[in-house]
Symmetry: C2
Subunit: 243 residues, 2 copies
Amino acid sequence: MSNLISTTARGPVGVLGGMGPLATADFFRKLVEATPAHRDQDHVPIIIYSVPEHPNLVDALTNNGPSPLPAILRGLGILKRADVQLIVMPCNTVHSWYSEIQDGIDVPVLHIVDAVRDDLLETPVLPERVGLLATEPTLRARIYQDRLAACGIDFVVNPIAEREEFVLKAIKLVKQGHPNQAGLLLECAIQSLLNVGVQSVILACTELPVALASINSRFLDLCIDPTLALARATVAWSLTRPE
Amino acid sequence: MSNLISTTARGPVGVLGGMGPLATADFFRKLVEATPAHRDQDHVPIIIYSVPEHPNLVDALTNNGPSPLPAILRGLGILKRADVQLIVMPCNTVHSWYSEIQDGIDVPVLHIVDAVRDDLLETPVLPERVGLLATEPTLRARIYQDRLAACGIDFVVNPIAEREEFVLKAIKLVKQGHPNQAGLLLECAIQSLLNVGVQSVILACTELPVALASINSRFLDLCIDPTLALARATVAWSLTRPE
């Protein structure tokens, strides 16, 4: 694709979205707001595939449903034909299939946890004890724990009863269009983590920042938002001329 | 594209976006929020092309720059190859080229003013005197005035000095990432329209609802938001089984 008058250095970014759609919209807005722009043409060129025909990710990862990989690879194929130069996925759980996804397309796929790591490494003092709010498969697959192992962070999760009552219910409520109710539940989960001494909380499911923002939560400042980190990393990639 | 488990009745919607990107993101969020959904798979399948390589629309319409039509048709071609079944354009000014765009692709293009008309016709009492905030070419092309002629509405616009000071500056500020400042300017334009007796105001540039929402303007309730109307019309199309 010719990039007639755009000031960004690279070709379009492909967004594999729809997991869920509101989280994808949240990513898009954060991407636009994170871009230094004076006019339309300064913005990151992106093509967003938000076709939520994939089987439920959590069901698949708990052996209760079919794999979403065929639907994901179909989406990647459509983005590839549109000549995208980078893939981003504003969903944490889907990163359980990161290797298969990267193997399925010959353009780089930016890992959401690498984006979080880059943000963390720019903070003056790394937090030592961090809460992790996520779906059960994201916790079990150790997506954050393993990829951030070098940061020496002690990860804390809520007890299972709190995860079910607060976190998993909140994720479902956002997907159903009730982010306010979800935000109130999440605040309970975060308060519980603060009670055991975490300094920061990673909102490791892209539905969660939407929920907290919708109630303008007092906890937002101490949370790490992987959607925002992914947006920043995408802008940084787009503005960097390839070597 | 097979639509494995989606409950929507139609194939994907193509969004020709990037005019500007923040307005496109605003449309996406409104689309998701306007959709009755219990899970990801209930949402409207969409593919968003937000590659802002098009020359400035207003410059083109005032004979001060090249036509954006080649860039627009390139975007439509990419959406068509992704097998979209409907095109929507969350930008009012681009509808100056509506005929050429509809001629350039063999899937229907939903006109933003038709979406506003459908919303208006559902109100208990049609407003008689309505303010129109838009770019100069949108006003001059009579996109709203002609397409809503049957509604018998008396359209009022601000004097040229107010349009330049308040409306055009506000649009530019949103594109530069300053929606709050833009919102304050817009409130001046709306107050002036209220002073001459309008009952309602059409925010006929998709940057404008973003600006007013960002300051949670007291005028939002009396405004008609074409972005929201387009989102609702898109959801309605997607949920209706083809005959």
